[in-house]
Point group: C2
Chain length 147, copies 2
DNA sequence: CATATGTTGCAATTGATTCTCAATTATTAT
DNA sequence: ATAATAATTGAGAATCAATTGCAACATATG
């Protein structure tokens, strides 16, 4: 599979934008972890490695990564957006523990047929979906009983 | 079915909070329409009717309405949260047109079984889910072909 | 290598949401 | 009823995420 940096380089070329060291650092950092991230977190991770990229550049790069299909917005929580990289990963959804805020990823092939059915029913050309499920995880269920 | 105002009154009593004319105006306004709303919109709707409620009060009332099960957050879009009232309405999800931003509500009973399966698989006590589907509606598909 | 144009960091700005505080109002106990 | 207690209000200030203006700088192209 083509590495994400290559995909980004192709994207900027096609759009007549420019690639820069800052953008490469951002991409590298995002793909160096499997976790969701938010802007602040990403900024701090870069700072800790003494790679100085301004927050403004991060904010400006994210839309390009989304446009090029490398990253997506996942949810809005704690007053800001959270993202994840999606290059070469299966589409998945998130199961959130409402108590400890743990997030478990899952896939469910039935969502495809829901999409198909919806598309037919409402005459939509379906592009994507986001399913977020909320509940209490095993540990927190135990805690709750004690209350 | 018990009217929403009653539910809210019970809620504040139980929580040893207080009901106020402002809160009743907010609830009345929210339930006077079937549409999604955001804070600013709600504020303007109230102002137009010469019912003066400050934005601060709206911001302070929303969490109470969510806690009492009358309202829920639906999605974050255009830089702010959008809500809808849910008292006495079937649970539903949203299908968004990415072009004209039209929103169609739909229900799909298969989501229940997805929830059940997830609960079993990950040992979660599932409380709720949000499914947002994105695509292009009939009209916008036509437009797109022309581009 | 020169030009045109995109990008950077910083600081200022915008917009949503929360908070502070004095005045007001709803509940509870007298 | 009335007073005492505590929650709520509106206005504006404060906060926080996200965007933007700008001057200096960097990249791609001819």
């Amino acid at each position: 599979m083509k590495p994400e940096i290559e995909i980004f380089r192709d994207y900027v070329r096609k759009k007549r934008l420019r690639n820069t060291p800052e953008r490469e650092l951002i991409i590298e950092e995002i793909f160096s972890s499997q976790n969701h991230f938010d802007i602040d977190e990403l900024y701090l991770r870069l700072r800790e490695k003494n790679q100085k990229v301004s927050k403004a550049s991060i904010y400006r790069t994210i839309p390009l990564l989304i446009e090029s299909g490398l990253v997506q917005e996942v949810f809005f929580e704690d007053g800001h957006l959270h993202y994840e990289h999606i290059h070469g990963r299966e589409h998945h959804c998130h199961l959130h523990c409402l108590n400890c805020r743990k997030i478990v990823e899952f896939q469910d092939r039935h969502l495809e047929s829901i999409e198909k059915r919806l598309g037919r029913k409402f005459n939509f050309d379906i592009i994507s979906h986001k399913l977020e499920v909320y509940g209490y995880c095993e540990e927190c269920r135990k805690d709750k009983r004690g209350r």
